[in-house]
Symmetry: C2
Subunit: 236 residues, 2 copies
């Protein structure tokens, strides 16, 4: 076990490993080798061992990893053993779609509030879970009352930085941003941006040059699918 700084590429992969382990466990499988895991993602097995090695020695030589054990360890490492409470700023289409996305609840994230500045929306409840929509001005209070620790920004780019500032003022330390804007956060606040426009435009580049992308990640006739996570580097 070392004490190095862990890159986001690694944490993204840990999340993917965990998902895979959950599937394997559901299939009744008890152990898996780094090689076996690696094949699921067209990844190098040393990569997996290195990623895990930052946090401890979870494997058994000659055998591999006990799935239940590794699963528990990864869950703990990723901080998923405690539930997270999510607030979504922007009750438009994207915001409400995310509020009802089932994928989140599976991994201990519960959406407990939406925020909007449209008075038509404030006071209403959204989706089968009846998530309340609050006035965006009440962020600080609702964050405190509801114990929100993660916010999602789903507002137009124009106002995204202002919203981020409000969210930071409410002392939220983790933000997932869907606005196509370069945001600046203060130290200690982690912002991850998911930029659909950029993703599509990047695809467009490869469409325009079919030869591009051939060489990278090609292996055994398949192409490794991107971003074993969200891709990204440098936060990129």
């Amino acid at each position: 076990m070392k004490r190095e700084k862990i890159s986001e590429l690694t944490t993204n992969r840990l999340s993917v490993y965990l998902r895979c382990l959950n599937d394997l466990a559901a299939a009744g499988i008890k152990t898996v080798s780094s090689q076996g895991l690696a094949e699921q993602f067209n990844l190098n097995s040393a990569q997996i061992r290195k990623d895990l090695g930052y946090f401890g020695e979870f494997g058994v030589r000659g055998v591999g990893y006990f799935i239940d054990d590794l699963r528990a360890n990864l869950t703990k490492i990723l901080g998923l053993d405690k539930p997270h409470r999510v607030g979504i700023v922007g009750a438009g289409r994207l915001g409400t779609a995310l509020a009802n996305y089932n994928g989140l609840s599976k991994s201990n994230f519960a959406v407990v509030a939406l925020f909007d500045n449209d008075h038509e929306k404030v006071g209403h409840h959204v989706g089968p879970d009846r998530i309340p929509v609050y006035d965006v001005k009440k962020i600080a209070k609702v964050v405190r009352d509801e114990g929100i620790d993660v916010c999602v920004i789903a507002v137009p780019a124009r106002v995204a930085q202002r919203v981020l500032n409000q969210v930071m003022a409410a002392d939220v330390k983790a933000v997932l941003n869907f606005a196509p804007a370069a945001l600046t956060a203060r130290l200690g606040v982690k912002v991850k941006t998911v930029d659909l426009t950029t993703s599509l435009q990047s695809l467009s580049y490869f469409l325009a040059r079919p030869q591009a992308g051939r060489l990278t990640n090609a292996r055994r006739g398949v192409v490794r699918v991107d971003e074993i996570a969200t891709s990204d580097r440098r936060d990129a």
Copy 2:
């Protein structure tokens, strides 16, 4: 102008530069230096010059870049001078939210079809643009008839690989995948995955260890916000 292979990190940044140039143009500004652009993203100016340098010499020494000129060049490089037609597979919440997302039309992407296997949905039309929902079995025909060149996968992880196979069989070469699954594509097909669960779990890691993420990208007291694109690397 060289002839090297361009990484996805670079194409992601090009998209971000283009967006910024559009904003600057709208503000009536005529020229910008790499330094000026870099400050918008907390990026190194050499990075920007290098990214552009892969494609030509667009700058003027002593001056910087003419915004209109660079904008036209980037648009061409990214293949955004020709319109793209998008089909979305999965007419659930996420799929319909994306179908109505205005951000796409802005950059020459038009959503022209949704696909679903739920017969309740097939035949209906979605949103203010009345986008038709087709039976997923008809993908190949609709792709041909409508000239679709990009598909979005917004279905449960369980069926994502099957859907990708159908999409590839319809000869679509660019796919944006929202399903939390490691997909395998054949050579010549580019898949970019946006994985919300992984993004959130990665945030959870940093919440669990506030000291993590401190060192990276810190500069002048601010933290560069991640993934100037979709973050990532290795398509990642």
